[in-house]
Amino acid sequence: MRTYIARRVVQGLLVLWLVSFAVFSLVRILPGDAVLMQLDAAAAPTPEQLARARQELGLDRPFLEQYRTWMSGVAHGDLGRSLITRRPVTQELAKRISLTSHLAVMSMIVALLIALPIGVLAAVRQDTPADYVGRLGAILGLSLPDFWLATVVITFLAIWFHWIPPIGFAPIWQDPARNLSQLLIPAVIIGARLAAVSMRMTRSSLLEVLRQDYVVTARAKGARERTVIVRHALKNAFIPVVTIIGQQFSVLLGGTVIVEFIFLQPGVGSLLLDAVLLRDYTIIQGAVLFFAVVIVAMNLLVDLSYSWLDPRIRYR
């Protein structure tokens, strides 16, 4: 097990290094740079002014030297400074991560509260009206684009109830009422879509497990149906569900950008979007690296949870 974890951590570090190099190169292929984006084109800066500005930001140095400087900072926990605001990238990210993680966790809670009971019910009552309604609901949830749903909901709330979510984020431990009034609606909208995916997976995975011999044995031994499902089937059925949840959580951290945009909530997604538009290289690199760390860590946690869920799975 330890060898397995060590190997996975090394692989993870390799992926992070590859991501760092890929994103560092990718942003430098983009036409224009932070200097051009900041300077007023109408003021027609002279080539000398442009060169001086690039020199100040260190953008005139050779590619590999810039990469080495950045990576040695990363190794010491310093992601550099924003090329636009000149504030430390870690500081800029920390401000946004709070909101994004609140939104992601709340959406995930909403999703699981909807998905698990309905998924189990749909599997246990396969091909009954409960199953059909559950499946139809899930497929509808998958088909309604969240940005469309968000736009429609926010408009109708404004028109019918003259209510718009407050602007400016407050963490839940500081002001729970304000936090919920800001994040509950976006979390329900994002959660509904996630719920659809998890519910379908719960249903199909539980259906498969319920047909296995050991479940038949449990039933034959006279175990109550409830015990068969909760004690015997559900834990094994959770493996693909946990995989999907892990994948979704990673997608969530980066994928809330449109909903953040509609609800005027500044998270990591919108920070990244603005940074790409302004060619703020250091912010892009920092944000992408943050996403990559979360994704790599999440994949590892998901894989490790398998052996807890199903003791037959052993890592060597």
């Binding site: 404004a158 449109i258 979007l273």
Partner: protein, 284 residues
């Protein structure tokens, strides 16, 4: 072919309905010039020669007009073309690339597999939005580049599914038999492995068709989609639809419904195909 259709109708009536919806959509896209009541780019003028702006749905304009006086129904009919082209082309690129990578990675394993898998990990760890912005900024905003971006987003996930299936198929006795009979590696891959990978690929492709249409709409929403004045559902929703939500909600509701119903049809078709092609999921 007809037997497959009969099987679908008999076993999965909902899947058959969604297949019919998809076929109807293809027909609408192909016959757009015949079916659209008006020119989607034309500013419709009233008697005084002024554009008929934001007229609510009526007998003349079934789904109303937009702020420039263009017919919403005609724009939705033409928008089907963009959505379908983006859907089919990006899924084709994504699954072809994904299948090639997954086949090589799963069949040959070893160090080549490690290299490909770390590449896939890297691609999956870069948010799609960064990739989209980067490609659009470098190559310019166009329909072809949107297709390329969505294809690149699909490929890594598809390669994982194919690799997993290939690893499972390799354990089967018929592959051992093929080896024993002296078949070459490429013959085994193309004649024995590939046909067995086809079912999962078809299922992912159908679901991804819906996702690709949503991604195209989302990119338009962020201002990175197909440039105007080409009518696209995402563009209609995010542009005139979002700006005039309070006064003319139909401008956002109809394109949104178009996207949702097409994605719904693709998802239901994907479900029906999965149930038909995966014997383990068949109802007892």
């Amino acid at each position: 072919m007809w037997r497959a259709v009969a099987l679908l109708v008999q076993r999965k009536p909902l899947g058959a309905v969604s297949a019919a919806v998809v076929c109807a959509l293809v027909a609408v896209a192909l016959l757009a010039p015949v079916l659209a009541p008006r020119d989607p780019y034309m500013f419709n003028l009233d008697d005084r020669g002024l554009p008929i702006r934001m007229q609510a749905p009526s007998a003349t304009f079934l789904l109303g007009t937009d702020p420039l006086g263009r017919d919403v129904l005609s724009r939705i009919v033409y928008g089907a073309r963009v959505s379908l082209i983006v859907g089919f082309a990006s899924v084709l690129i994504g699954t072809l690339l994904g299948t090639a990578l997954g086949l090589v990675s799963g069949y040959w394993e070893g160090s080549l597999d490690q290299v490909i898998q770390r590449g896939v990990d890297t691609a999956m760890a870069i948010p799609g939005i960064v990739l989209a912005l980067a490609v659009m900024s470098v190559l310019g905003q166009s329909l072809t580049n949107i297709i390329l971006v969505i294809g690149l987003v699909i490929a890594p996930g598809a390669s994982r599914v194919v690799r997993g299936t290939v690893l499972a198929i390799k354990q089967q006795t018929f592959i051992d038999a093929a080896h024993a009979s002296g078949a070459s590696a490429s013959r085994i891959v193309f004649r024995h492995v590939l046909p067995n990978v086809f079912a999962p690929i078809l299922v992912i492709a159908t679901v991804w068709l819906g996702n690709a249409i949503v991604i195209e709409a989302a990119l338009s929403f962020l201002g990175l989609g197909t440039p105007p004045p080409t009518p696209t559902w995402g563009g209609m929703l995010s542009g005139e639809g979002r700006r005039n939500l309070e006064t003319a909600p139909y401008l956002a509701i109809f394109p949104g419904l178009a996207i949702s119903s097409v994605v719904l049809a693709f998802n239901m078709l994907g479900d029906a195909l999965r149930d038909l092609l995966d014997p383990r999921l068949r109802t007892r």
